[in-house]
Symmetry: C2
Subunit: 227 residues, 2 copies
DNA sequence: CGACTGTCGAGTGTCGACAGTTTGAGAATT
DNA sequence: AATTCTCAAACTGTCGACACTCGACAGTCG
């Protein structure tokens, strides 16, 4: 458990694996590695100034999150997406959130409602003067809250996994929101529907919202792919 | 990377990690390790006659499947379940399969219908003269087929993860089906509903079926827990 | 000219070792 | 007797090294 200084970052005590995983994730989301490219363990280990063991474990972690894939005896590669896979991810996300919001509709407390409103407010704030990454994070946080408040922790875990993949796709596309304020506003109807406590109304509001998001992402993804 | 033994038969091309993971899985499902118990890497490595490295990786794999949990600097422990977690798993499973069967209702082909019927037949066969484990596997295979035929591969992946956890719970309970033939028969209405191609009818049939299964598992789990 | 074979470098799979941490039992103290 | 302290054993995190495999390239033979 040595402390290593290399370049900018000072890696210390806390589990190397998680730190490496975080750094790799960041690098992937920044687009430092092209999709499909091979990640050599030894090279990464040199870059991070550590041995191959923690790099391997970090890579396995990212593999379980669907950001890397591995082939026996060949190592790790940056995950690639195609249209169908992206569709699957959004379809599954819709499935989860629908279920979550229906559960939530039956148990919404004033606290939850307030938390969601607060989150919407944060979203509007960064929509005005935040970075693209911040906007996405606030957006994700709102939807994650829906899942959390549903009460099903297992569902939240799957949602988180999907989020990793969605972020990956989205930042692979580049700029997403041309009008972030308007995007933030489209979350308002969801909160309103929840206030009615009517599961069907909630589902409809959610469907509409996610439908737009999906359409936009898939469309931009296709454009990028054919270029 | 060892042993190319025994003529042509066993070329151990597959790496140690997967083999160890399989063996560990089997041991866990056989109940060789009590829930919550600590798994020492070095001990396992000695037992398997390998070094700690592949054992660690296998353990990480099982962790990502939800069968083990890890604590920093303390190692791996056999996953424990409580009522709430079991409820969450079944709730999520229902959510996935509902979605899958609705998708499937709109695209069912004769081939798919035949495959499902065949699977039901297998289920009935092992219900008469198969082991408990076989019965569970055939049952799972039927439901997995529903997910596969939905066309969403990502959904299948999550379903598989959930299955690992359900198997774990079920075999932790012990005997599950008191009348396996009757259990197999309860899948018939699902196929019939699919034939009508009506999503609502399909969902209803599925809800009924899974509801019974869940009720039974949860009930037995609670009994066992209080004993 | 094309197909096959041998060789070489790069990279993964696995191992044994070391260092720091956690745990639990027993000694020491209140 | 209960509690705290001490310390050694057991264990995890990390490292560097070696063996084996895969793919590329060049040379050989038809």
């Amino acid at each position: 458990m040595t402390s290593i200084t290399r370049g900018f970052a000072t890696i210390q005590q806390r589990d190397l694996v998680n730190q490496i995983a975080d750094m790799l994730t960041e690098a992937l989301l920044k687009g430092d590695f092209a999709p499909g490219v091979h990640l050599a363990e030894a090279q990464l280990a040199r870059d991070f100034g550590v041995s191959r063991a923690p790099v391997r474990e970090a890579a396995r972690l990212l593999e379980s999150r669907g950001m890397l894939v591995s082939q026996p005896r060949r190592g790790f590669f940056v995950r690639t997406f195609n249209d169908a896979e992206l569709d699957d991810v959004y379809d599954l996300r819709l499935c989860l959130e629908r279920h979550a919001i229906r559960l939530l509709a039956g148990k919404l407390t004033p606290d939850m409602e307030a938390a969601l409103s607060d989150q919407l407010e944060s979203m509007r704030r960064v929509a005005r003067d935040g970075t693209g990454v911040q906007q996405i994070e606030e957006d994700v946080a709102f939807h994650r809250m829906l899942c959390e408040f549903s009460g099903n922790q297992r569902l939240v875990r799957v949602f988180d996994e999907l989020c990793h993949e969605m972020r990956f796709c989205i930042l692979l596309i580049g700029q997403l929101y041309d009008d972030p304020v308007r995007v933030a506003d489209t979350h308002e109807p969801i909160i309103e529907a929840l206030r009615t406590r009517d599961p069907d109304a909630c589902e409809a509001a959610l469907d509409y919202h996610i439908g737009i998001a999906q359409q936009r992402v898939v469309e931009m993804f296709r454009e990028r792919e054919t270029s």
